[in-house]
């Protein structure tokens, strides 16, 4: 194998999330579209995932199941503050300590304070998108605490000093040869395209790390208020290791993940794994309701939950935007997105890529920095059709597009950076357009003028004609044509 062929060439902007300029979307998209390796890796993976999802729901009344999923999430959101309090009460009674954080920084501080209080220097992590959102690894490492990812995909991405390109399959942008090269360079494994060998090597490397870790940090898929239970979905067993082997377990979660009853989880789990990877269930479904009891022989002595708001309570204020918070993070929207499949996850430059990222990230970074997110969509509707909890993603994209150009103070502005894309010229044009369309005389005069001088129409219309032909003005207006016909 020639090593020069397998050297990983990271696309622009794949390094450490917070350094990426989100606004550089178009350049990254162009680079990704012309990168056959990225195109192939994503195409292959997404085609497979779509087929598996379809097969996994065979024999189900999928529409009824999606109704159930949506209603469970809506019911939970309708009682969110009460459920959070009930959750805290139950968890506390079970011996789990609950912390609240207004934003990512505060959440990072809480995690660090727990580590410092225990004298912890080594943190091992299970997969958690909220911790990516918080940029927890960088925060801890800057303060002398090692934070090591243990999910194989996250481990690979961390070795490469990159960020996940998919919320379920973080290293999907890399092929086996690239991963082999990376592991060879960073961990000294042999160059090999044998996935069994690479996986076994990672197992060995990480077993040592689990044994020596002082703290395990994980995410949460569902938090059950009635029993005070934290649920984690995974295939590898690293999540169980993370939450069982170190003496202290810290779970971090967004405040929207709470559901009232255990029964709710059975339906959401059925939707989550089938939508995400087409599995009927994952290998492990881990339900944690307390630290190790005195006579137990293993499990963490200390369990903490950090409830992270980070913009969620402001999304919660608006009846339409609220739907964003139904999300159970399955990733089906990105698997089915024609844009995501072509440009890949890193192009977005945000923690959450793809359709869910396009409706969630503007709330976290604002419509100014995230100006290209709502428009990076053809509004084909696939994301909304596959969403297991029926989030109307296309409608939310349209709403965010409106908010990004809306200067009308009559509409309540909810999203930070509201009106960031509003341009004076464009606003004037639409004002004129609206003026003309409400006055028949002006309208006829204007269209008549345009038809008469149609030959003067420019052939190039900026970005529109870069990949398309320009629409041609007709030599006669519609009114004139109709008049001739009816004569």
């Amino acid at each position: 194998m020639s090593s020069s062929e397998t050297v990983s060439q990271p696309a622009a902007g794949v390094h450490a999330g917070h350094q990426v300029d989100v606004r550089d979307f178009h350049n990254r998209a162009r680079a990704a579209i012309h990168n056959p390796k990225i195109r192939q890796n994503f195409r292959k993976a997404m085609d497979g995932l779509m087929a598996k999802r379809t097969a996994a729901f065979e024999g189900w009344d999928l529409e009824a199941l999606r109704d159930l999923g949506a209603n469970i999430r809506l019911r939970a959101l309708a009682n969110l503050p009460d459920l959070l309090e009930q959750l805290e009460q139950k968890l506390t009674a079970n011996g789990i300590r609950v912390h609240w954080a207004v934003d990512g920084d505060e959440a990072c501080q809480i995690v660090r304070d727990i580590c410092v209080a225990r004298g912890a220097k080594r943190v091992i992590k299970g997969k958690s998108m909220v911790s990516e959102e918080m940029e927890l690894n960088h925060y801890l490492e800057a303060r002398g605490i090692e934070a090591l990812e243990s999910d194989l995909g996250e481990y690979i991405v961390q070795l490469a000093d990159e960020t996940p390109s998919h919320i379920i399959m973080p290293a999907i942008h890399k092929n086996t040869a690239e991963i082999s090269e990376l592991m060879h360079e960073k961990t000294g494994t042999d160059l090999s395209n044998d996935v069994e060998y690479l996986t076994a090597s990672a197992r060995q490397q990480l077993r040592e790390k689990f044994m020596n870790a002082d703290v395990g940090v994980s995410g949460v898929n569902f938090a059950v208020a009635e029993t005070g239970t934290l649920c984690l979905v995974e295939n590898e067993g690293n999540g169980r290791m993370t939450t069982t082997v170190p003496p202290c377990h810290i779970a971090v979660t967004g405040i929207e993940k709470v559901v009232p009853r255990l029964e709710d989880v059975t339906a959401l789990l059925a939707l989550l794994t089938r939508s995400a990877t087409g599995q009927h269930i994952t290998t492990y479904f881990n339900m944690i309701s307390g630290p190790r009891k005195e006579d137990e022989l293993d499990g963490p002595e200390e369990v903490h939950l950090v409830l992270v708001d980070n913009g969620r309570s402001s999304i919660y204020q608006d009846d339409q935007l609220l739907d964003t918070l139904r999300c159970i993070r399955c990733g089906a929207c990105m698997n089915h997105c024609p844009v995501y499949t072509r440009v890949g996850g890193h192009t977005y430059g945000t923690t959450y890529p793809g359709p869910i990222g396009k409706i969630l990230m503007p709330h976290l970074i604002g419509l100014d920095e995230g100006r290209h997110l709502p428009t990076a969509s053809s509004l084909c509707g696939a994301c909304g059709e596959v969403c297991p909890v029926r989030i109307p993603i296309p409608d939310l994209l349209v709403r965010l597009r409106q908010e990004s150009v809306d200067g009308d103070k009559l509409h309540p502005a909810r999203v930070p950076g509201h009106g960031a894309k509003r341009g004076r010229a464009e606003a004037m044009i639409w004002k004129g357009w609206s003026w003309m369309h409400s006055r028949p005389g002006a309208y006829r005069f204007g269209t008549g003028l345009a038809a008469r001088f149609h030959k003067l129409q420019p052939g190039q219309l900026g970005a529109w004609t870069r990949f398309r032909t320009a629409p041609k003005l007709a030599p006669k207006t519609l009114h004139e044509q109709l008049k001739e016909r009816n004569r």
């Binding site: 009824a64 109704d67 194989l152 689990f210 239970t229 067993g237 309701s289 022989l297 499990g299």
Partner: protein
């Protein structure tokens, strides 16, 4: 104001006003009344589709089958519970066709490296199974600690066919989980696996490479 108060205040004084909760209808999760034999067939099919193994055994013959399985794998030892009936019966069987029996009866901190590096297989009981998804229900206890089903490369689980439920939903209702959960509860549906390297399946990435279920009919 504390973070908690800030967050709860914002949620309670929502600009859009009080939300109404829709009704939820769980009937889509209902399954026909499968017989035990049907449930066992479904369970077997599901767990085999994810690389798990099912052996149908009798209450008298399960130790024979266990010995065969362990011999075929060349297992040097088997981790058993110190208190659970399964462990007691294996110790009292006094059989020489079983490998060394290791008893998990001390806190993990006192023997962690041995557990991680030397143990080849472990056997646990289950609290039932789920036919539709091929899942085992485990509630680790003082007698059968959490790491038994996670760290050794081979996990052997004993399931009573009569304790098979159609769905997870049915199991939680039948066993009334909502009344109180243990510190840790698990559904295990196959051996540990990953597809993180180019979607290629590999088993035993962190947990067991093999999951073998002895179903007592």
């Amino acid at each position: 104001m504390s973070a908690k108060e800030t967050i709860l205040n914002r949620l309670r004084h929502r600009a859009g006003g009080q939300l109404t909760a829709p009704a939820v209808d769980f009937s889509v999760l209902q399954r026909p009344d499968w017989t035990t034999a049907e449930k066992l067939d479904l369970f077997e099919k599901a767990i085999e589709s994810v690389h798990g193994e099912v052996h149908r055994v009798t209450a008298d013959g399960w130790i024979d089958r266990l010995a065969e399985i362990l011999q075929s794998r060349g297992a040097r030892n088997l981790l058993i519970s110190g208190q659970h009936d399964l462990g007691t019966r294996l110790r009292e069987a006094g059989r020489d066709d079983l490998p060394d029996l290791l008893v998990y009866d001390e806190p993990v901190s006192s023997w962690q490296p041995t557990l991680f590096n030397e143990v080849d297989a472990a056997i646990t009981s289950t609290r039932g199974g789920i036919a539709e998804t091929g899942s085992l229900i485990l509630w680790p206890t003082v007698a059968e600690p959490r790491l038994m089903s996670l760290v050794p490369p081979i996990h052997i689980a004993v399931l009573q066919a009569s304790e098979l439920y159609a769905t997870f939903h049915q199991a939680t209702l039948a066993q009334n989980w909502a009344a109180g959960m243990p510190t840790n509860a698990l559904l295990i549906s196959g051996p540990s696996k990953t597809a993180d390297i180019e979607q290629t399946l590999a088993y035993g990435v962190h947990g067991p490479k093999e999951l073998i279920v002895l179903v007592i009919e």
